[in-house]
Amino acid sequence: MVHKGGDFGARHQIGRREFMRVMTAAGATTVLPAGSPRHAVAQSRGTTMVIAAPATPQSLDHEYDVSLGTIDAVGALYDNLLEYEKIPDPLVPAARREDTSVHTDKPYNLALRGKLAEKWEISSDGRMARFHLRPGVKSNWGNELTAEDVKWTWDRKLGLTGLGPFQTSVLNIKKPEQIKVEGKYIVSFAVPQPSPLLLKQMVNLSNPVYDQAKCKQMATKDDPWARKFLDNETAGFGSYTVAQLVRGQQAVFKARPDYYRGKPYMDTVIMKEVPTSASRVSLLQRGDVDIAQFLQPLEYITVSKSPSVAIDAVAASFAIWIELNAKIKPFDNVKVRQAMNYAIPRDEILKTVFQGYADKQTGCIPSIYPNFTNKYWTYDTNRDKAKALLREAGLEQGFKTSLSYNAGDPVQELISILYQTSLRNIGVEITLNKVPAATFYDRVTKRSEPMIFYLDSPWVPDPGYSNQLYFHSASYVNYSNYVNKEVDRLIEAGLRTTDPKERQVTYDTVQRIVMGEAPWGFIVYPKYVLARRSDLKGFTYYTSNNLRFQDFSREA
């Protein structure tokens, strides 16, 4: 669908001739046969970047869509108030990453840089954050950024029922009055208790700033928060704007020449939907695309043999685990849960399923997050110990149960089969339930399965945020039905203090308890892997696990 309505076309300044040129280049990338002409196309792409993605954005409104295509689009179309400083990845020299560590020598112990905000401060009691916005920043509709935009953005979260209520609840924001416009370029957030997440939430991809003037213009009585408009179009202060979105086929993004940080190198980004990973591999190998997203581990090995392809595999915030439902027997018994962990053949999984593109999950928060510790890790595969624990639990003869996995994720079936074989050795028989991808998350959220896979990533690099999501008894993401009042208390206490030492002690204790009580079958931390043309530079890893088109450039 090419947007023609209103003044959209004029704003995006894409002439018919230019649009035809881009489309021709996009088409040529997929129809040209093997041989030199396609190489010529690859070279002539210059400032056009083509991405083979599993799916195009289903919506451009992140409030209601967290799918892969959407988060890539949001990262390009919108900007946040703050961002982390970037540092070279310690293991992958070609990649950079956010510096999310605790820096006691820096303000608020964080390595932050201003984006839409040029200055910020937190009150001495830690209950108020004030942001001074950068003057002169224009949206893709030409409206200047003001404090009203930030206010409207957060009011929208409170007014809708999507991701917003979660994002506001993390900060204990319950009423619009907690967000105040103090001047044209000054906005403040008041929270009832000191929050270590006040600044981190302003970096979170889920909290971009909208152009309220345009959104209000497009709102209707029935749709006061411009949902319909933002579903298909964009009103933000990011570096790109959407030129075309044909769901299921492709999305085209154009760099904004008036972006306040300067126009990005890649003038045009074409995201083509290529559902099968094998086809994405083929396109990358032929040079028809610059990036092939989300391949299977063996495919990364295959594609890395091509001299014109580079692979960047960096430690990420992803983890894949099995929810051991603490409300279903026999997983209500800690010893059984521990036994199930001792029977997981992690080394085999790492070798055969992930081909090394993952690390052992030795903790209950991402290993790249501050305060992570693996000192409570004891679950190296040990079937004798597993048997002994089952004996102690009164299940010497073993038991039968089921493990549900997502049909849309090929690695889960392989892990399940390896685990099934391993469990047979300790007398546990599991039936494997392949759940269609469309209904898998519904099954997870019902919390009615004894064992079910889960792949997730807490986007905010904070131990409190992560632990609250998965282990607080009141969290909607606590799919293992894990309840420990002491853990609840500690998580809440850690989210009420900004003292780094106190937080470290608190979350160290939380990790000790959780690892000991094993509400999950801890499996692996999959890496974020980018398969790209070797002339493409600038890959930066974000804890939201998405691409930011503005980071990329091409080697001359």
Partner: protein, 333 residues
Amino acid sequence: MHPVKPAGRRPVGPHDSRAWFSTRRQPAPGLRYFIDVLRARPAFALGYAIITGVTLAAILAPMIAPYPPTTANSADYLQPPNWNHVLGTDATGMDVFSRILYAPRIDLTIAVVGTLVSAVVGTLIGALVGYFQTAGGIRALASDSVMRAADVLQAFPVFVFAIALVAIFGQSIVSIIFAIAFVNTPIYLRLMRQQVMSIRGMRFVDAAVVAGVSDFRIIRAHIIPNAIAPVLAQLSINVGWSILLTAALSFVGAGVRAPTPEWGSMIATGFQNVMTGQWWPSVMPGIALAVTVFGFALVGTSIEFLADPSSRRRLAERARTPKPNNALDTASA
């Protein structure tokens, strides 16, 4: 229509399958005749050999398979065909050859049971519908209703319909058997109805009616035996087709549970590795599936051939007249 002279005490129809299948009323073709047929049509022999081989593999799998079919072994994952694993191993290290040997236990069971259920149900309903189609009154109306219901069932794409049934009744072997039986039943219903309608007007049926034989006895004793030949020929073809449907359901994830050895699921699981050069986990079960379906197709053709009196007659004539090349007329095959 000119019914042939009934053999024995009971009247026999023009396409009397019992003439070949019965050993009492007509000289039996015998083993020698059967061997003559196979010599004349070696392709039929190949079909029987394939089906025999697959059946034996299913029965003897626990004795001849070198490895357990559902035990992962990460030390040997994705091994190409070698002396230890003649057809290689899959992504979890399971032996492809062993799994191929075990797979017919599932595939054949599902296909044969599903087909037999559909054949029995379809044949019985088809016989009743065909017999009462011209009876008038409520019975004719009921027959018409059944045929319209069959029209509706057959209007759905078979594969999509089967997926829907498995989705409704859950992912299990019984559900797949039910799905196969359900989608195949209208085929047998139509086939039988057509046969019965042609036999219904014959004199030997009229004679039975005049003699006061009940409708259901006429159907059981006189109609079905004379109309069954095309159904029997269809059986084998349908078994092959049902194996394909079972494999297709597994391929899209609606079939058997992993890691049950089943050709379709093996093809699906191994498919991901073809692109990265490990073709054997997917191609080997694919070949086994293709060969088996081919075997059932050949057997189906042979039954059709043998059930056709004119083909049998030509075969007998050729057997009496020695020729340098004993190939048969292929027009009827």
